[in-house]
Each structure stands twice: as structure tokens, then as C-alpha cells.
Amino acid sequence: MDYGRPALAERLAAEYVLGTLRGRARQRFETLMGAHPALRLAVLAWYERLMPLTALVKPVQPRPATWQRVQQRLFNHRAPVPTPRPVAWWRRLALWQGAAAFATVAAVSLAVLLAQPGAQPPPIVIVLSANPEAAALAQASFVASVSGDGRSLVLKPLQIGSLGAGRVLELWAVPGRGAPRSLGLVSASGTTRVLRARLLADTAAFAVSLEPAGGSPTGAPTGPIVSVGKLEI
């Protein structure tokens, strides 16, 4: 076969969209797309060509429970979820409290607030240290700076090693009890900014997990935690 690279890229893009590109080749291609805008454009063009065929598919009304579950996952409705789960990693955070590798720094916050009630609360700085247990999969550490009013977070990498094919990092706010809340994907290079109404409310730690491309498909961390920073108040 005498394919030059553009022809090969075009063929892979078409087969990715058609669905015949599978398994590791598909994962590799998704990773490549992340790095090559030309590939993304080729894929977009193939989506425009083939996706209209889905208009010919007969619609099927979903069960009412599905919408309930979507809302539960995204908006933390209190309806009980029947599926049993193994002990989730965030419940094991307490085990790391003694580990020297997990140094956390929290600039003075509550004490200052109490001392000077009218003052603008200072930002809280948290170091998210690399988890040595995840070192084989990914090395990553960050500094997070949360504004005193708890409405914005700026995350800067101290170090991000290679993540492996088709993987991204996702940031989570971990409460003392209950499931972590996703704060979105961590920017591959440079700064990640997060805006929320109350980042610090019910947050015991910030954590970063390794997820498949696009982030966790389930709304909870699915991959290993690569770094954690606990808030000390």
C-alpha cells in the first residue's frame, strides 16, 4: 500500500466515525485526535457526512427511570441508588493522613476570618501531591489556589508526566462524606480555572484522577487518583 500520511489519516478518520476502528487502535486514534487539529477536522467532516443517516433510525422512548438517573448523577438528588459498590477510593483518604508523602498546605483562612470579620478572606492554597501508588500510571502534582469567597479555583501543574494513550486528568472536590463532585477536566498544559458557587462548602480535599478521554463516563472517579490535597481548617 502506497498511502501517504494524509490519505491514511483520512481513512482512519472515516473508519473511526463509521465505527469499524475498534479496540486499542480506536483508543490510540482518540489520543492522536487530541494532539492533531487536522485529524479533528477530518473526523468532523466525516461526522457531517455519516451522522445524518441516524435520522433514518426509529426513535425508541427511554424508560422514565433513565432520566431520573441522569438527574441523580449530575445534580445529586437524594434518591437511593440500588447498585452495590466496592469501597470507593475517597473513603480511604483517611488512610493517607499519616503518609509523609502527602504534605498539605492551607494558608491561614478561618482564623483570619474570625479575627477580622470585615476583611476580604485571603485565598487558600493547597498543594496536590503526587500519589506514589499511582506513579506507574501517571505522575502529576499541582498547586490549587481557591479564592477566599470559595467561588473560583486556579489549578497550576507542578509536574505532569505522560498519561498514557486516551487518558485525561479530572479534578474532584471530595467531601468528608459522600461522593466526590467533578470540577471538570484538567487542562493538558497550563492553568485550569474552575468557577462554582461554593467550592469550599463540604469539601475536605481536592483530588485528581486518571480518566478515559472525555472524563469519567460514570460521574464518579473511575481511574486511579494521581494526586490529592487536603484542606486543613
Binding site: 481513512r11 472515516a14 473508519e15 466515525v17 463509521l18 465505527g19 469499524t20 475498534r22 479496540g23 480506536r26 468532523l44 467532516a45 461526522y47 457531517e48 457526512r49 455519516l50 451522522m51 445524518p52 443517516l53 441516524t54 435520522a55 433514518l56 433510525v57 426509529k58 426513535p59 425508541v60 422512548q61 427511554p62 424508560r63 427511570a65 433513565t66 432520566w67 438517573r69 441522569v70 448523577r73 449530575l74 445534580f75 467533578s182 471538570g184 472525555g214 472524563g215 463516563p217 460514570t218 460521574g219
Partner: protein, 204 residues
């Protein structure tokens, strides 16, 4: 490729933009408008109904999170939504390692073949419920171009797209060599692209 402005498509784009700003009412409206079509798309690939409903959940979780990055200049809303549905459905096959279940008993490209029925279905000009999403005009163009391919090329592409089969699965289903199937798919896609480029050019 020319994209004619369609009121249904524009309405979806507006909803998506608001979902991107965390508007839950817009998200509920989007779900109401598109979830049935998207579940249909998922079911073509993930035949297990319960698993398909799980996939649909993931699809809408993805949509909620990624709607802010949807660019209406680059893409049509339903194209993007359908692509999320197909990708999650394909991923669910890998995770569950399900064997594809062939509902069609057709062994060839005959008039009783499931995939052929879909390709032969001629959408009427009056927008019916299937045109909720503004894609019917383009679906007609693609269908026309698919009709210009060889029988084997059409068959392979239809099996891959509508049944979510891999090259190897298509080869097994048709009892043809893997190399032939790959070649038919590759050439079929190239011809499809050329045909669509030609018909887009003719619209000017």
C-alpha cells in the same frame, strides 16, 4: 459541505448553548426532544435494552458536561449528539465484551435484509416525526450517494454503521474474507465522500 439552516436544528443549537451555561430547564427540554432518537441510535449498536438505557444515561451526562464546547459553526447539533451516542455505544461493547446479536436473518443483500430496508426507505418530503432533528434532507443525500456504491460496498458500510459491526464481524456475517471487507469499506467511504462533495458543489 453546505448546511441549510433548519428551524429544528437552530432550536437544538439554542438549547445546547443554554445547556453549556448549566441551564437545567434547557437540558430537560433537550432530553425530551432528542432522547428517543438517541436511544434508537444506541440500540442499533448495543442491543441489550437495559445496557442501552445505561449508555443513554452516560450520553446525557457527557452532553451536560461538554455542551459548552459545542461549536454551532463547525457542526450541527444532532450530528454532535448522535456522535456522542454512537461513541458511547461502541465503547459499551468493548467494556461488556458482548457478542453482536444478529436480528436480521438475511444472508445477503436481498430485499428482505434489515439493513437494505433502511437504505430503501424513502423519507417523504413532509417532515414527519423522524425529522424532529432537521437531518432528513442530508440523510436523503447520503442515501442517494450510498445507492451509487457497489452492492458489497453498500452492504459492508450499512452493516458497520447501522449494526455497529467491526470489519471482522462483517466478514463473519457475510462469509467473506476480512481483506475484501476492509477493501470494500475503504473504497466505499472514498466514493461516498466524492459523491457528497459533488452534490454539495451542485447546490451552489
Amino acid at each position: 459541505m453546505s448546511v441549510a439552516a433548519d428551524p429544528r436544528s437552530e432550536e437544538l443549537a439554542r438549547l445546547l448553548a443554554r445547556v453549556g451555561l448549566a441551564d437545567r430547564a434547557a437540558f430537560a427540554a433537550l432530553y425530551q426532544r432528542t432522547s428517543a432518537q438517541l436511544l434508537g441510535v444506541v440500540l442499533r449498536i448495543q442491543r441489550d435494552r437495559a445496557l442501552a438505557e445505561d449508555v443513554l444515561q452516560e450520553v446525557f451526562v457527557n452532553i451536560w458536561r461538554a455542551a459548552g464546547s459545542f461549536d454551532p459553526v463547525r457542526s450541527q447539533p444532532m450530528t454532535w449528539l448522535a456522535s456522542v451516542a454512537r461513541n458511547r455505544a461502541i465503547d459499551s461493547l468493548r467494556r461488556r465484551e458482548t457478542q453482536p446479536v444478529f436480528e436480521s436473518t438475511s444472508r445477503g443483500f436481498g430485499p428482505d435484509g434489515d439493513e437494505v430496508d433502511l437504505l430503501d426507505h424513502v423519507p417523504s418530503d413532509i417532515p414527519g416525526p423522524q425529522d424532529q432533528l432537521g437531518l432528513m434532507a442530508q440523510a436523503r443525500a447520503v442515501k442517494r450517494c450510498l445507492g451509487g456504491l457497489s452492492g458489497e460496498q453498500q452492504q459492508c458500510i450499512a452493516l458497520a454503521f447501522y449494526q455497529g459491526l467491526s470489519h471482522a464481524e462483517v466478514a463473519t456475517h457475510l462469509r467473506q474474507p476480512l481483506g475484501s471487507v476492509k477493501s470494500w469499506v475503504r473504497r466505499g467511504l472514498l466514493s461516498l465522500k466524492t459523491c457528497l462533495q459533488r452534490s454539495a458543489a451542485m447546490e451552489f
